[in-house]
C-alpha cells in the first residue's frame, strides 16, 4: 500500500491554537500587557521565519508534485518518445488508449481486483477486529494485534518473492498442504484464474492489517453503555454487532473503504513480482500499463493519458463514496 493513499481522510482535530482570553491577569509584571500586543517588528519577523520554514516543503512540492501534475496532463496531449521533439496530437492518446485491448483488459482487471480484494480485506479486518476487541487476556490481545499488523512492515516486493515460492506448482508449500487432503497440485501461477487468486491473496495478506488497525480504533470509540443498553433490550452475540456495532462503526468503515479502494487501484508491486502481468494479460493492472508504455515502449504521452484516466477514476470513486456516505453513514 502506498503511503500517499493512506492519508486522505484529511484533517481531523482542527484545533485552534487560539488567542488567550483568560489568565492574563495573573501576570505580575505591569508592563506585560503592552508587550503582549505583537509589535510590527515581531509580526514581520514571524512572517520571515514562516517563509523560511516553508521554503523547503513548498519549493519541493512545487517542483516534484505540482509541476509534474500539470506536466502529466499536458503530456497526455502530446506524442513524445524522448528522442524526437514532442508533437501535439490532441485527444489521439486518449482514443488510442481507450481502444487498446491491453489497456482495456488491464483496467478491467484492476476493477475486478479492487472489488474482490477490498471486500476480502475489509470483511476479514472487521471480523478479526471484533473478535480481538472482545474479552480475552491482555497478552493474547497484544499478540494477535501484533501478528495482524506485522505484514504491513514488510516490503511488498519481498513478500511477493517468498509467496512466489509458496505457490510454486511442484515444490510449493500451498500445494503440499493441499496434497495432504488429497487435492491435486494447482497450477497457481501458470493459469489466469490461479494467478489472479494468488495476486489477490498476497495483496490482502499484506494489507488487511491496516484496515484492522482502523477498525480497532473505531471499535474502541463506541461507548460501552450502548452495548449495555442493547443487551438489556435482549440483543446478544451477532445481533448485537449487527444492530449496534455496524451502524456505529460506519464512519470508520467509510474511511477504511476509501483508503483500501484508492490503494488497491494502484496495485503494482505484487503482480509485477509474482506474474509480470501474465499469463497473457490476466494479471496486468492499470499502473503496470503506465509503467510499460512509459519505460519499456517510450510512449510517454500515452502513459500520461493512462495516468490521467486512472486519476479521474480515483477521484470519481472517492467523490461517489462520500456522496453515498451521506445516506449510509451514521454519525453519533
Amino acid at each position: 500500500m502506498s503511503t500517499t493513499t493512506r492519508r486522505l481522510a484529511g484533517e481531523s482535530g482542527k484545533r485552534q491554537s487560539g488567542k488567550r482570553a483568560v489568565g492574563e491577569t495573573t501576570t505580575p509584571d505591569a508592563n506585560a500587557p503592552a508587550q503582549h500586543q505583537p509589535t510590527a517588528k515581531s509580526r514581520q519577523s514571524q512572517r520571515w521565519l514562516a517563509w523560511i520554514f516553508l521554503a523547503p516543503t513548498i519549493l519541493g512540492m512545487g517542483l516534484f508534485t505540482l509541476i509534474p501534475i500539470v506536466a502529466s496532463v499536458v503530456l497526455a496531449f502530446f506524442h513524445w518518445d524522448i528522442i524526437s521533439a514532442p508533437t501535439f496530437v490532441g485527444f489521439d492518446n486518449f482514443s488510442e488508449v481507450v481502444q487498446d485491448p491491453t489497456v482495456r483488459v488491464s483496467f478491467l482487471n484492476t476493477i475486478l481486483f479492487v472489488v474482490v480484494a477490498v471486500a476480502l480485506q475489509l470483511g476479514l479486518a472487521l471480523a478479526l477486529a471484533i473478535m480481538v476487541q472482545e474479552k480475552m487476556p491482555a497478552w493474547l490481545r497484544v499478540f494477535f494485534r501484533s501478528a495482524f499488523f506485522f505484514p504491513l512492515i514488510l516490503s511488498a516486493a519481498s513478500v511477493s518473492i517468498f509467496m512466489r515460492y509458496l505457490f510454486n506448482e511442484q515444490f510449493g508449500v500451498v500445494n503440499w498442504f493441499l496434497s495432504l487432503v488429497g487435492i491435486p497440485a494447482v497450477p497457481w501461477l501458470t493459469t489466469p484464474g490461479g494467478s489472479a487468486a494468488v495476486v489477490i491473496f498476497v495483496y490482502v495478506w499484506q494489507n488487511f492489517g491496516f484496515s484492522f488497525l482502523l477498525f480497532i480504533g473505531g471499535l474502541a470509540s463506541i461507548p460501552v453503555e450502548t452495548y449495555e443498553a442493547a443487551s438489556i433490550d435482549g440483543a446478544t452475540g451477532w445481533r448485537k454487532h449487527l444492530y449496534v456495532t455496524l451502524p456505529l462503526l460506519s464512519p470508520t468503515t467509510l474511511v477504511a473503504s476509501v483508503m483500501a479502494i484508492i490503494s488497491a487501484l494502484q496495485v503494482f508491486d505484487q503482480p509485477y513480482v509474482l506474474t509480470r502481468g501474465g499469463p497473457g494479460d490476466s494479471t496486468r493492472t492499470a499502473v503496470m500499463v503506465i509503467f510499460e508504455s512509459a519505460f519499456q515502449r517510450l510512449e510517454f504521452g500515452q502513459a500520461s493519458a493512462i495516468g490521467v484516466l486512472l486519476t479521474l477514476i480515483i477521484m470519481a470513486i472517492t467523490a461517489a463514496q462520500f456522496r453515498l456516505s451521506k445516506r449510509f453513514v451514521f454519525y453519533q
Binding site: S2, T3, T4, T5, R7, A9, G10, E11, S12, G13, R15, G18, R20, A32, Q46, R47, L49, W51, F53, P56, T57, I58, G60, F64, L66, I67, P68, A71, L128, K135, S146, A147, F148, F149, P151, I153, S155, S158, I161, F162, M163, R164, Y165, L166, F171, V173, W205, G209, F210, L213, G217, P251, V255, Y272, V273, I290, A294, G307, L310, I314
Partner: protein, 300 residues
Amino acid sequence: MTTTTDHGLAGHSPRLSEGLPETSPNRRRFSWNFAIRIVLLLIAAALTLGPVLWTLSTSLRSPSESFKLPPSFFPWNPDFTSYGEVFQQLNIFLLVLNSALVTGLIAVGQMVSAAMAGYAFAHLKFRGRGALFSIVLATMMVPVQVTIVPVFMLIRGMGLSDTLLALILPAIPTAFGTFLMRQYFMGLPAELAEAASIDGASPWRTFRSVYAPLAMPGMAIVGILAFNFHWNEFFRPLILTISEQNFTLPLGLVSLQGNLGTGSISVVLAGVVLSMIPALVVFMFGQRALQDGLTAGTGK
C-alpha cells in the same frame, strides 16, 4: 474489567432482579464462544505468521534441501550456507548501504522539513496560511504513479538520472508529515510562545529552544513512517535507477530471484530475511509510533 468480575454476581443485581435466565452467569456457554473465537484468531495468526516463519526457516536450510518437502517452519538445525552464498551472488553490502543512505536521508529530510513547515502552519502568522495548507493537503491525493513520468524527465533534466539523489530529493517534501507535525504543534500550548516572547525571545529562538525540543516525539513518528515506507519501496527505484550499483535492497532481491529462477530458494530467502531485519527492529521498538502515525488523520 477482568473476567472474574464479569462472572461475579455482585455487579449484576439489576439484571437478576428481572429474574431472566441471563447468559452471563452461564459459564459453560460463554467459554464455548471464547474457545471458538480464539481458535479462529489463532488460525488467522498462523496464516499471517506462517509464511514468514517458513521464509526464515527455509533460509536456514542448505541450498540443496531448501525445496524439499515437507516444508520446515522452525529452524531446528540451522545451516548458514545460504547466507554465505547470498553475499557471493549479490553485493549485499552495497545494497544495504544504498538502501540505508536513501532511507536515512529521506527520513531525516522529512523530519526536519516537516517540523519546520508544520510549525509555520501551526504557530506563525502569515498571509495565505489557510490556502497554502489546503494545497499541501490536496497533494496527498495524487498517486505517485501519475507524476512519475514528469518526475523522471525532471530528474534527467537536472542531470541526476541513475543516482541515489534521484530517489532522495523528490521524496523529502512530505504533505502527510507536514500535516502530522502541524497537528502535533497545535497540541502544544500556545502559552509557551507568549511566555517566550515576554522574555524577549525572537520567533526563531522560540522555535529553537521551546517548541522544537517538545516536538521530538512527533518527529520520531514522521521519521519511522518514512523509514518503513522507503525501505520497502519498489516502484520508484525500479524506474529511477538503472545500473546495479544504485539498486536498493528490494530491487536487488527481485533481480536475484529473476536470475536464479527456482535454483536455490534458500539463497534468495536469506536475502529476504536480511532485508527484513531493519523493519523488524522498527517493529519491536516503534510499533506504537508506527500505528499512531499510520492511522493519524483517520480518526474522528
